[in-house]
């Protein structure tokens, strides 16, 4: 057959196939629109969570399937939708585009770029709601996820695949911890997803430019549902972020995802639920607000080798009102996660930043993921600090304390001073170990409390300059009597030079 014949045959075939396409569409009619919610009749075979196409190319999600009507939320502008409009079924459950091209971009809750750098070309779609990986696909958390914050890495270590809640009042540095954790993932072969839920657009812009400046956008995706966008976008965005994270985890990558913050998502879901006439429960949240967060956070996982060995570490953020962690949503999320980082306002204003409450913060699984050197030097730290807090409160009332108590209080003050760390300055784990070791062995005891920061810097620059091989050994996670002795020798050497 000649080339022309071939072309004719192919084209003919195409034409024949094309002519067969009579599209069958199932439609419904809008009978009510209000506050981003519609009720429709028709849509006979509509599924739960199905995407619906409204006039003007706006999508919605069917949430309430009732006897005669379907209730849906509209994702986007709903002002042009009116009674009698035709709504089409798409037959797809809500899904978002995912892919490597997403890295370095800012997208909205439906995966469309909003950073002004053009469309994102991706081939794959992931459903936003997916059942979490089962028991057989998982393995225990065993690799550390270093945040670069001394207080966290030493006291409440986080492992890859863990879910660690960051909880605290407004203005206590919750986002700062999350951003520092992203910055510290540089060169760690991690992908980061930052989900901003109902945040100010200016805050998201500031975070994006900060990450860009630090070169962290090379491995970060930002999903943003702004405060001005309708509630369904805030409701949807964590699931969108999770779907994007799952794409990378399925490829065997380690992913860090931050939900900032889930309180706002719960508010958005409460708004939607009330408008959809679902019965309100405690604090007017619907009955399934627990499931809202548990099904999201359960998708964080550490997959075993058979399933690619990827992981998703989740750092959800919850904002409390007046330090009340026994409100409905905070208690729910505390019980779902593997521990919490509790930040307090008065610590923050006393200058202890990060404003970590050591007593109330825990990590239930991260301990097994801590590196050996860190485990050794930080082992007694938490207990020492807790004792110090108690003694300090006690010593306030009595002026004369015995020398042993005084020494403990003095040590505790230095410890607290050492754990202070400014924002955007994550510290590598080996330097943390050296610093905490020197503290524990009493090398800082002879210096004034106010000069701790400088002294620590001096010690670390001494180590970086002349003991780099030792630092490398610690970074590898080796720790035995020999390394301990050589770190001790090095500290002695430094102390003499002072």
């Amino acid at each position: 057959m000649s080339y022309t014949d071939n072309v004719i045959a192919t084209l003919k075939k195409n034409i024949e196939q094309f002519e067969k396409t009579v599209q069958t569409e199932e439609v419904g009619t809008v009978i009510e629109v209000k506050d981003g919610i519609t009720r429709m009749t028709g849509l006979t075979n509509c599924q739960s969570q199905e995407m619906l196409l409204f006039p003007g190319g706006v999508f919605g999600i069917a949430l309430n399937l009732e006897e005669e009507t379907v209730g849906a939320v509209i994702l986007g502008d709903y002002t042009h939708i009116k009674e009698g409009d035709e709504v089409k079924r798409t037959g797809r459950v809500m899904s978002v585009p995912v892919g490597d091209a997403m890295i370095g971009r800012v997208v909205n809750a439906v995966g469309v770029a909003i950073d002004g750098h053009g469309d994102i070309s991706t081939k794959e779609f992931y459903p936003v709601e997916r059942v979490a990986p089962g028991v057989m696909t998982r393995q225990p958390v065993d690799t550390p996820m270093q945040t670069g914050i001394k207080a966290i890495d030493a006291l409440i270590p986080i492992g890859r695949g863990q879910r660690e809640l960051i909880i605290g009042d407004r203005q206590t540095g919750k986002t700062a911890i999350a951003i520092d954790a992203i910055l510290n993932q540089k060169g760690q072969n991690m992908i980061c997803v930052y989900v901003a839920i109902g945040q100010k657009e200016s805050k998201v812009a500031r975070i994006a430019s900060k990450l860009q400046e630090a070169g962290a956008m090379e491995y970060t995706v930002i999903v943003s549902a702004g405060a001005s966008e309708p509630a369904p976008m805030s409701y949807l965005s964590p699931y969108t972020g999770c779907a994007i994270a799952e794409y990378f985890a399925d490829k065997g990558k380690d992913v860090l995802i931050i939900y900032d913050d889930l309180t706002k998502q719960a508010w958005a879901y409460r708004e939607m639920s009330l408008l959809l006439r679902r019965p309100p429960g405690r604090e007017a949240y619907p009955g399934d607000v627990f499931y809202l967060h548990s099904r999201l956070l359960e998708r964080a996982c550490n997959l075993n080798e058979k399933y690619g060995g990827g992981s998703i570490t989740a750092l959800p953020i919850i904002e409390t009102q007046g330090g009340d962690i026994s409100a409905y949503v905070p208690t729910n999320v505390i019980s779902i996660t593997d521990g919490q980082i509790f930040l307090e306002t008065d610590l923050f204003y006393r200058g202890i930043r990060p404003a970590l409450n050591v007593g109330l913060s825990v990590s239930r699984v991260g301990g097994s993921a801590q590196t050996k050197p860190m485990k050794k030097v930080a082992g007694s730290l938490k207990l020492g600090l807790a004792q110090f807090r108690e003694l300090e409160a006690f010593a306030q009332f009595s002026s004369d304390v015995d020398p042993e108590t005084k020494r403990q209080i003095e040590r505790g003050r230095r410890m607290t001073e050492l754990l202070k760390q400014p924002q955007f300055s994550p510290m590598p784990v080996e330097e943390q170990v050296v610093s905490l070791f020197a503290m524990g062995e009493g090398y800082f005891d002879s210096f004034a409390l106010e000069t701790m920061k400088e002294i620590e810097e001096k010690l670390l620059s001494f180590f970086c300059a002349s003991k780099s091989t030792l630092l490398e050994t610690i970074a590898k996670g080796d720790w035995n009597d020999e390394t301990k002795a050589s770190v001790k020798d090095a500290c002695d050497e430094w102390k003499k030079a002072q």
């Binding site: 094309f18 396409t21 009579v22 599209q23 069958t24 569409e25 199932e26 439609v27 419904g28 009978i31 009749t41 028709g42 849509l43 006979t44 005669e68 009507t69 006439r277």
Partner: protein, 128 residues
């Protein structure tokens, strides 16, 4: 309780009046009107009557189809299309130039779209 839909009112009215005549029918309608007043739905009576007519036809096994085409169709063609959907068919026709060619048939909540416009749209989607 949310307001009832026209379709639901239509069903109530149909069940009340089905097979009745004379004073019994009058009594049933009276009761239904009282119910409408109770529900504050009397002002919606036009919508209700349209819905009732449709519902009654559906109950008698008459199916309604709406054929939309770009140009006026011959009666023969309409009959041919209607014949594909069964025997008791009521046909409504519309003209919509934007379809360019072909027909769109709607039965209940299902639309069969065989218009040139939708095929062009699909072609565009496949090519992009």
């Amino acid at each position: 309780m949310a307001n009832l839909l026209p379709k639901q009112y239509a069903k109530i009215l149909f069940e009340l009046t089905d097979g009745k005549s004379g004073s019994a029918l009058e009594r049933a309608v009276e009761e239904f009107v009282k119910f409408l007043i109770d529900q504050r739905a009397l002002s919606k009576k036009e919508y209700l009557m349209t819905a009732f007519k449709e519902y009654a036809k559906l109950q008698q096994g008459i199916q309604k189809i709406v054929i939309t085409s770009a140009r006026e169709l011959s009666q023969k063609m309409i009959d041919e299309i209607a014949g594909l959907f069964g025997k008791k068919i009521e046909v409504e026709t519309n003209i919509n130039k934007a379809l360019i060619g072909g027909v769109v048939v709607r039965t209940g909540d299902t639309i069969l779209d065989a218009s040139v416009r939708s095929q062009l749209e699909q072609l565009q989607k496949e090519l992009s």
